[in-house]
Amino acid sequence: MEFKDYYKILGVAADADKAAIKSAYRKLARKYHPDVSSESDAEAQFKEVAEAYEVLKDAQKRAEYDELRRYGRHGKAFEPPPEWQSSTVFGDSGHADFGGGFSDFFESIFGSGQPHGATERNFKRRGRDIELDLPIFLEDTLSEESIPVSFEVTEPDAHGQLTRRKKKLNVKIPAGVSDGERIRLKGQGSQGIGGGPAGDLFLRIRLVPHPLFDVEGHNLIITVPLAPWEAALGARVEVPTLTGRIHLTIPANSQTGQRLRIKGKGLVSKGHKGDLYAVLKVVMPHGGNEKSRQQWQQLAESVPFDPRAEWSKR
């Protein structure tokens, strides 16, 4: 077990007063709180900071910690003296919400904070909710799909010991779910303690980015590359949709960036269907031969066209 230097974690001096500790904590908490931070390791960082503050804000805990700190160095191996006994009663501070609770180091000093009544017969608590991200392919949002979900719950066994158990469910995902939407499966979370009700399972829909289609609300966008002559003369091209290929008529003299609407080929939303937009993109052929070079040359001479006319207006 590593020794944690709580002063170092909060970035304060060992003789810092209460106000300095509070201010350092608040600053770091705003930076790393998982509900506001976009830093990748925010949760782990916040836990460290919260743990340090939990100890240093409390005069009694701080005094005990200072006592132990004389034997430890930050990041170095540490065991509390065998006769060590904390006199503080560790309350349920709730910082454990983000899962995992306090570090082994903290618990070795101040105890685990497990509710003392957990094994008593009359102790009742609702089971933990489970939150999971559920990746869904765009194709699977068009109709109700049954999707297998596996997850782990922490539940008391016959002896009241908390153990992990794997659960598998087939979940019916309704048609028309959108990115970020949550689905609640009542009572499918962890079992309650002492006969308390089970927690819920919450699935957060994550639409998997599609290689071809971009999502805009319940409309889809596909980029359609066109040869210059297809854009100039018009064409009939085959375009993929989520439900198979269709033929799309490209009008003559089309431009890059132009959008063509394909009705009803978007995503499903509240019973009605969005549209698919084909965005045109004129692309040049690679290289070419002497003949094609001559043909471009003829075009250049016969078509009066200034693509940069906009610039000369200024």
Binding site: R26, A29, R30, H33, D35, V36, F46, A50, G94, H95, D97, R126, L169, N170, V171, K172, I173, P174, G176, V177, D179, E181, R182, I183, R184, L185, P197, D200, F202, P209, D214, V215, E216, I221, T223, T256, K270, K281
Partner: protein, 102 residues
């Protein structure tokens, strides 16, 4: 096993159970506009599923950052806006990437 999540709405009692947030705390959140349950024809509040997460988030911010409820209302509004802008930015970047090589 599930119906459309949008159709699931909860009464105040159901919401207290599902969110694990105390009733008097919820009242403060409603007062500050952090939660906006709509009223049914009988004048009873109806809560949407998504509000469970808003309420829990507000509780954590209140406890961990020691922000008052009024400040949380503002923080949540700005955080939502930030998230929307980030999403929009991601989508636009992805679309732009189909037109220009970066």
């Amino acid at each position: 096993m599930t119906s459309s999540p949008k159709a699931i709405e909860m009464s105040l009692d159901e919401f207290i159970l599902a969110s694990g947030v105390a009733g008097d705390t919820l009242l403060l959140m409603i007062e500050e506009g952090i939660l906006n349950p709509h009223e049914d024809t009988a004048g009873e509040w109806r809560f949407e599923l998504q509000m469970i997460f808003t309420a829990r988030r507000a509780v954590r911010l209140h406890r961990d950052l020691e922000i008052d409820w009024c400040g949380i209302a503002l923080a949540l509004e700005l955080l939502d806006e930030l998230e929307q802008l980030r999403d929009e930015n991601r989508i636009l970047r992805q679309r732009l990437g189909r037109f220009i090589k970066t």
